[in-house]
């Protein structure tokens, strides 16, 4: 059992999302950085889709009633167990009575904490992800509150063996780590790769050029649905009404005011703004770490190029999975 001593700013239970229900207006959602959540899960011997805790800006303080293995990935939080540093990107041993405190993110915004066995909340429409707007999934469909209690699922054989080894050698964490940033071929710092969107041709040539040349600034208008950017105004060549149609995470839509919005996984299922571009799926995770004032640039990539990045990421993740499973062989 895990007791929430402090909930943090916005801590929610998330897995890899709730696909299959968009036709009913139900968002896919899930961990905003799927790669970070999958990596954290692998590091504690979970299925990649196990439910984790997503935290933003100020993380939670948790008390553990049983010894277990945890791992966290994402922004640079000042995580501590009983006042001692709790390192990122690796399996960490937690003993009964230990207090894990995340505090403030020093760089970036969000992180994902996996617990061996996953967080055991009911499956709603095939997913454990919290969907706050509809009040479903996760823990009672809401963010964590103080005094909440979370139960874990059954830890895998792998996680119990790693826990045993750490205990035997009296270590808090493994010396090795797996950083999500090293999986696949990440973009250069401050640059994300993006494809032209279905309504690319609707925009003026200066707008098309500006999109790939300008430095864009993240605004305060950012949540799990999307991030609004500030930069040169992006104008349509002529006024046109768009008929509402599907969107996806990564789609860059441009409302009439001309400032783009990059959609994140909790986006709505349909949108009515022209879709100028779409961020490569592997690079979308960078938008989950932007703070107001942070800057970013877009670099053009083809659909084939973006899919090659996804395939590379999948191959690398398979290698990580195999490497971890052989660790105890």
């Amino acid at each position: 059992m895990i007791t929430v001593l402090k909930p943090g700013l916005l801590t929610t239970v998330q897995d890899l999302g709730r696909p299959g229900y968009q036709q009913y207006g139900v968002v896919v959602g899930g961990a905003l950085d799927a790669l970070a959540a999958r990596t954290a899960n692998l590091l504690v011997g979970n299925e990649e889709n196990a439910a984790v805790l997503e935290m933003a800006q100020t993380g939670p303080t948790l008390s553990f009633s049983r010894s277990t293995l945890v791992a966290w990935c994402g922004a640079d939080f000042d995580a501590q167990i009983n006042g001692e540093s709790c390192p990122r990107d690796r399996p960490v041993r937690v003993a009964a009575g230990d207090i894990l405190r995340f505090g403030l993110a020093r760089h970036g915004l969000r992180a994902w904490l996996a617990i061996a066995g996953g967080i055991d909340v009911p499956l709603v429409m095939g997913s454990r992800s919290t969907y706050r707007r509809a009040g479903l999934g996760g823990l009672a469909g809401r963010a964590l509150l103080g005094a909440d209690q979370l139960s874990g699922g059954h830890p895998s054989e792998w996680s119990q063996q790693v826990l045993g080894k750490l205990l035997a050698s009296n270590q808090r964490a493994t010396a090795w780590s797996v950083r999500p940033d090293t999986i696949g071929r990440p973009a250069r710092v401050g640059v994300v790769r993006a494809m032209r969107g279905p309504e690319w041709d609707w925009f003026t040539e200066p707008a098309q050029q500006a999109f790939f040349q300008a430095t864009w600034v993240a605004t305060k208008e950012a949540d799990r649905m999307g991030v609004r950017l500030k930069g040169p105004g992006l104008a349509l060549a002529q006024p046109r009404e768009m008929i509402s149609s599907a969107v996806n995470a990564g789609v860059v839509q441009v409302p009439p005011a001309g400032q783009p919005i990059v959609l994140l996984p909790s986006r709505q299922s349909v949108g009515g703004y022209p879709r100028l571009a779409a961020v490569a799926a592997v690079d979308l995770r960078h938008f989950t770490q932007l703070r107001p004032g942070d800057t970013i640039r877009f670099e053009e990539i083809s659909v084939v190029g973006a899919q090659d990045l996804l395939l590379t990421q999948a191959r690398d993740l398979t290698r990580v999975r195999l490497g971890l499973s052989r660790l105890l062989a």
Partner: protein
């Protein structure tokens, strides 16, 4: 059955994990039927790598996982073409599933008092009395073009032109669940409390989103909707019984 939706159909990528199948350029019932028909054809059996199919006014969007598509045999540098060919192939065959005839759903609405803060605005705009607005709104049969935006939110077509009212310049911070509104040419029902800029003319006690059921929404694309005016007493009775 004629496969008229194949004429002029276009398939274009929406990023690296979705394809847009475009079946028309306008919001009308004939395009709606094409979309529904194409959607049923595509959904009849699983397509390799396709994780979800979502219909809208003029499009069906196929969401897919490129990794699964490659595992199913797609050449790594031609995933879009490979998948588009399979979508086109599937669309050559008429839907195998029997045409699910949309049902007509009657929605009880209380058009009174605090449930209808903007009824006066709509009436003034239409140069009608509130009673005439209610009569017109309840007399019409609406088509559910799609469900989206929020869980269970129906995009309804068929609002009498005279009732069209511009949305509020400043949206309300919270629109209560069940609110029936008019925004421009559209009318709809808010399934859950959310910010919104539509003119609120009534409220239904029915739950439009019911996650414990399948399907989890009261309305589905293709359904017809008729509103029925109810009293406050009936509203509270239905709400308590719901």
């Amino acid at each position: 059955m004629t496969l008229d939706y194949l004429t002029g159909m276009q398939i274009t990528p929406l990023g690296d994990q979705a394809l847009l199948v475009e079946l028309g350029q306008t919001i009308d019932e004939s395009t709606h039927r094409k979309v529904q028909s194409a959607w049923r054809s595509l959904a009849a059996e699983p397509l390799p790598g396709v994780t979800e199919l979502v219909p809208a006014y003029t499009t069906v969007t196929a969401y897919y996982d490129p990794v699964q598509a490659v595992q199913a045999g797609a050449p790594a540098d031609q995933i879009v073409d490979w998948l588009s060919d399979r979508l086109r192939e599937r669309l050559k065959h008429p839907p195998k599933t029997a045409k699910t005839k949309g049902c007509t759903v009657e929605i009880p609405v209380c058009y009174e008092g605090e449930f209808a803060p903007d009824l006066g605005i709509v009436a003034k705009q239409a140069k009608l009395t509130p009673a005439e607005v209610i009569k017109l709104h309840t007399k019409t049969e609406y088509l559910v073009y799609l469900v989206g935006f929020a869980p269970g939110f129906p995009y309804l077509g068929g609002l009498p032109k005279i009732l069209a009212t511009p949305r509020h310049a400043k949206p309300r911070m919270v629109v209560p669940a069940g609110s029936v509104g008019i925004g421009g040419q559209q009318t709809g029902i808010y399934p859950c409390a959310t910010p919104g800029g539509w003119n609120l003319i009534g409220r239904t006690p029915l739950a439009l989103f019911r996650p414990a059921f399948h399907p989890p929404t009261l309305l589905s694309a293709g359904d017809r909707v008729k509103f029925r005016a109810i009293t406050r007493e009936e509203f509270f009775r239905l709400e308590a019984g719901a």
